[in-house]
């Protein structure tokens, strides 16, 4: 018998950012009504799983939470991330063919350092899943395709220097929507050039152009990349009725995309048309994952031919797709020194605004341009919230297959920083040993977690 599609539905009916916030209890209420009324959980092609909690270490493996993990996550975050892990386990073990974590709260705006909530996100559920799959199940190459109307800047940030994680995002042009990033020139760091690909879309783009992006960029690039695992960051705010986005995707368009992408897992992200889009989109995506007929799923106010795309805008997207395809194909012969400059390190400066918590972060990120491994990362960050004293941290990441020299240098940097007055907290995230350290200056104390 063909394997089933695993579902975890965790609407968090008792969790909200605030009573009137888009991330409130009501968000998945009508989706619940629709999928329960359809009897989806009873379908022989579907298996429903119970959510579980991710461990604090699962979070620390990915994020530098300031001051520590417990202060950035609520139980709801651990359950949302844990649900992704639960399904990830079931897919890898072969119990199910694919899975859909329909969970709240979302995560794709959460970056590697977390000073607070931004874009409704604290914890990046997909990133937690990626590093868990690599650590726990020994997977090597993973592709994340982000279909949210907002650029998945958190996911991009976390894997920007990691050539083993392919990140492709199509979203509304950052000049017209939060978070203002995701342009086609953001292509990954010197150690991972071309494994980040962004397709910004002008407002009004619909299913037809989505199909072009899928057929001409996503599918062929994935075929080249040969991932062990494909994750869809399944935001649903590209829908024509979404109040935050200005796109014109339909439930049918999303389902066609899902069928062609054929992801191992989908993880729900944004989507705030809680009545007019989400019930139909989630149903269509589930059916597409389970290889069932989704042609009967129709939004009540949709009729075929309702939207016609503006040819000029569509051709703009076509040009971006063609450009990125070219970058992808020539990525191995690109002149890296010319693009990123010479020297042992590549450095970038970032200003990050936490829109929900009104925090401003200034960050300097350095990656070692190592030729034996993908290089360790040094992050110096300063977070400022209102009139409070700024919090300054130094954080070090050692990648999964770090070479000995990088490992040594990284630990030296960590220990040196511990001696420096200027950092309130110092972090070490050693993925090669699965050990995380967290030093707090005021208490002169170091905590550690291990997997």
């Amino acid at each position: 018998m063909e394997k089933k599609t695993g579902l975890i539905f965790f609407p968090a009916f008792d969790w909200a950012i605030s009573p009137t916030h888009p991330e409130r209890e009501e968000r998945l209420l009508y989706t619940r009504d629709q999928i329960f009324e359809e009897g989806v959980m009873d379908l022989p092609q579907i298996r429903e799983y119970a959510p579980r909690l991710a461990s604090l270490h699962d979070i620390a493996r990915v994020h530098f939470c300031v001051p520590r993990v417990q202060s950035q996550v609520t139980e709801a975050h651990l359950i949302a991330a844990g649900s992704a892990l639960q399904l990830g386990d079931a897919v890898v073990s072969g119990d199910i063919k694919n899975g859909f974590a329909m969970v709240r709260p979302p995560g794709h705006h959460a970056m590697r350092t977390v000073h607070g909530n931004r874009g409704f996100c604290n914890i990046n559920n997909e990133a937690v899943l990626v590093d868990y799959l690599r650590r726990r199940h020994g997977l090597k190459r993973i592709a994340i395709i982000d279909s949210d109307v907002h650029h998945g800047d958190g996911t991009q940030d976390i894997f920007y220097h990691d050539p083993d994680v392919l990140f492709i995002s199509f979203h509304q042009d950052g000049r017209t929507i939060f978070p203002g990033t995701g342009f086609s020139h953001e292509l990954g760091g010197p150690q991972a050039y071309g494994t980040t690909l962004n397709v910004p879309m002008p407002p009004g783009i619909g299913d037809e152009t989505l199909e072009y992006i899928v057929d001409n960029l996503i599918v062929p690039v994935i075929k080249d990349f040969k991932p062990d695992f494909i994750i869809n960051s399944a935001g649903q705010d590209n829908h024509y009725s979404d109040p935050l986005g200005s796109m014109r995707f339909t439930a049918r368009g999303y389902a066609d995309f899902t069928r062609k992408l054929n992801p191992d897992m989908a993880v729900l992200e944004g989507g705030y048309a809680i009545e007019t889009a989400l019930p139909y989109l989630n149903l269509a995506i589930i059916l597409a994952l389970a290889r069932l007929d989704y042609s009967y799923v129709l939004e009540p106010d949709y009729w075929p031919g309702r939207f016609t795309e503006n040819a000029e805008r569509a051709s703009k997207v076509h040009r971006t797709v063609d450009y990125l395809r070219d970058v992808w194909e020539k990525r191995n012969s690109a002149d890296i020194d010319n693009i990123f400059g010479k020297g042992d390190f590549y450095q970038r400066k970032k200003f990050i605004y936490y829109d929900t918590d009104y925090i401003e972060e200034e960050q300097i990120e350095k990656v070692k341009k190592c030729s034996n491994c993908i290089g360790y990362l040094l992050i110096e960050s300063r977070g400022e919230r209102g009139y409070r004293a700024p919090v300054r941290i130094l954080a070090v990441t050692v990648p999964f297959a770090a070479c000995e020299a990088c490992q040594q240098e990284a630990y030296d940097a960590y220990h040196q920083a511990k001696k420096k007055e200027q950092y309130d907290y110092v972090y070490m995230q050693d993925k090669s040993l699965d050990t995380c350290l967290n030093y707090e200056r005021d208490k002169n104390h170091e905590w550690s977690t291990e997997g």
């Binding site: 975890i8 539905f9 965790f10 609407p11 968090a12 009916f13 008792d14 969790w15 009573p19 009137t20 409130r24 209890e25 009501e26 209420l29 009508y30 619940r32 009504d33 629709q34 329960f36 009324e37 359809e38 009897g39 989806v40 009873d42 379908l43 429903e48 799983y49 119970a50 959510p51 579980r52 909690l53 609520t74 139980e75 709801a76 359950i79 109040p243 009545e275 019930p279 149903l283 059916l287 069932l292 007929d293 042609s295 009967y296 799923v297 129709l298 009540p300």
Partner: protein, 561 residues
């Protein structure tokens, strides 16, 4: 204070007479084709020398509806469905004439596609041409708005006044359209035969001068007054396993976590009692490959019993789920687990030499003595049942949770006792308990535990209220009731009061003049509806019930004779 419990099973009809927490008499008779005479025979044995007018209350449980459905002994039902968009209509295969009418409601009860009158007329005509006299009319989201169902049913009744019509929103108000279709179809199918059963019971009781209130046990372990139960015959499916679970609950100390193991001829029924209360299944009962909305205790049937046939296949000994007659030691054709028990001295049923012969035939080719072969067979049974028990606990732990507190509250529990009832229990229970690290218990009166369970069962009533202040209506799931509610400022407290009021109303309707003082709130959820950053209304989802429980524990208050 005399209470009577009667369990009408497929093979036996059991009756017990309880007198203030003691079993005063019990009876076990064969169930015959003529229901009335079996009932009378069991009653007479249990009531020996007791006058009928002393009886306070009678509760029945029965597998009759279950058997009707499994054996497909019911009249065909035609389906008029209004599914609208969503799942492909190819999914709606219920092995009977199905006629689809265009039209649709959404999750808030708003009409998104009007009923297409002409197609409705055609569907009704086709159905009548195909000869259906029993019809189920079911729409998607009909429990949010029943207008389409009512319109179709009215038209049908107008055209064909002789049709027996059931509407989905009145049978099953919970979400899940396919299960609503099945529940409505089976209600329609079994109503007539169930009415005959109710008549037989009432006749039997009145012939013996019993005019006490009569109740019927439901699958969830609660009871309903018998006369009212004709509205919901399928609520009685699986009341048999519910009865034996309640029986064990009554026969063991309160508060314990136990697993009930009812080993019969070909199947073993398992149920869980967690900290003293029987576990309810998270989804409706499944019967004969149909998924229903019937709320039921979490019971599981394992296809292994005392009469299951055992065979050697190559170097393996295998137990099959079939039965080919009685055990070999009782003159049957094949070795069975009962023969193994006989060889090991764990039962006195049948002939010892024939049992040895059966085990020898299994063991000899594998170089095993009859004793070794018997051990092997017993272990197979014990391992199968123990594994299923473990699985039940894991499944319970892994039930989906939709709220943070539910995930955090998840606990791990293991049984402290394994309670055996049913004919085959004695030989296996202590070893199953040992495998699970629990104590074995075979309570007194284990053979009539189900009748005792029926006798101690109490009425339960529930109300699920959904208020949508923006749409301006509320609905009562259990009643299929929908009414306008014109109060934008309706509060949570008002919603709770409304739910309690309906609980009282339902109690009156079912003639349960118990006072609804203890209202248990199972769920109270408030959803703020926000559109464009402004609160536009609230959805309240409130679920209340009367406390669940049993009359008392047998032997707790007095001595058992």
């Amino acid at each position: 204070m005399l209470f009577i419990g009667i369990d009408v099973g497929g093979t036996f009809t059991d009756a017990v007479l309880l007198d203030r927490g003691c079993v005063r008499a019990s009876a076990k008779v064969q169930t015959k084709e003529d229901l009335l005479s079996s009932l009378l025979e069991a009653l007479d044995k249990a009531m020996k020398g007791v006058s009928g007018d002393l009886v306070e209350r009678v509760v029945l449980s029965t597998t009759m509806i279950t058997n009707l459905i499994v054996e497909k002994k019911y009249d065909p039902v035609g389906l008029l469905l209004i599914p609208g968009p969503g799942l492909s209509h190819q999914h709606y295969q219920f092995n009977t004439g199905t006629y689809i009418i265009p039209g649709a409601m959404d999750y808030r009860g708003r009409e998104i596609i009007p009923l297409r009158r002409e197609q409705m007329e055609n569907a009704i005509m086709d159905l009548a041409d195909d000869g259906y006299k029993n019809v189920a009319v079911v729409g998607k989201f009909s429990s949010r708005n029943n207008r389409h169902e009512k319109e179709v049913a009215a038209r049908l009744r107008w055209n064909y006044p002789d049709c027996q019509v059931e509407m989905g929103h009145q049978v099953a108000g919970q979400l899940n359209f396919p299960r609503r279709v099945v529940s409505t179809m089976l209600t329609c199918a079994t109503r007539e035969k169930y009415e005959y059963f109710v008549d037989s019971v009432i006749t039997a009781l009145s012939q013996r001068g019993i005019d006490a209130p009569v109740f019927i046990l439901k699958a969830d372990g609660g009871t309903l007054p018998l006369p009212c139960s004709t509205r919901v015959p399928i609520e009685t499916i699986f009341s048999g396993p519910a009865a034996s679970t309640l029986g064990v609950q009554a026969l063991t100390p309160p508060g314990e976590t136990s697993v009930v193991v009812d080993i019969g001829g070909t199947t073993t029924d398992l149920a869980l009692i967690l900290s003293g209360s029987p576990l309810l299944a998270s989804k409706g009962a499944a019967i004969d490959d149909y998924l229903t909305h019937v709320r039921a205790l979490a019971v599981k049937s394992v296809p292994v019993g005392g009469d299951s046939i055992v065979e050697r296949v190559g170097k393996e000994i295998i137990i099959y789920s079939e039965r080919l007659g009685p055990p070999y030691c009782q003159g049957g054709p094949m070795p069975t687990p009962t023969d193994a028990l006989r060889v090991l001295g764990l039962t006195r049923l049948g002939d010892k030499d024939r049992a040895r012969e059966a085990m020898d035939s299994l063991g000899a080719p594998l170089g095993m003595s009859p004793g070794e072969a018997a051990n092997k067979v017993c272990n197979l049974v014990i391992d199968t049942i123990s594994a299923e028990i473990q699985l039940m606990f894991t499944q319970w732990e892994q039930e989906p949770a939709y709220r943070v507190w539910e995930v955090l509250e998840k606990r791990k529990e293991r049984p402290s006792t394994v309670v055996g009832v049913g004919g085959g229990a004695a030989g296996f229970i202590s070893q199953i308990a040992a495998t699970l690290g629990a104590y074995p218990v075979i309570p007194p009166y284990a053979p009539v535990a189900n009748a005792i369970g029926a006798a101690v069962a109490l009425p339960t009533l529930e109300v699920t209220l959904r208020v949508d202040t923006e749409q301006g209506y509320y609905s009562i799931e259990e009643e299929g009731f929908q009414e306008a509610l014109d109060d934008a400022n309706f509060t949570e407290q008002q919603a709770l009061d409304l739910a309690s009021k309906w609980l009282g109303k339902r109690a009156d309707k079912y003639g349960l003049n118990q006072r609804i003082e203890d209202v248990e709130i199972i769920r109270r959820e408030v959803f703020n509806m926000v559109r464009n950053w402004v609160t536009t209304g609230k959805i309240y989802d409130i679920h209340v019930q009367t406390p669940r429980g049993i009359l008392g524990h047998i032997g707790a208050g007095g001595e058992i004779k």
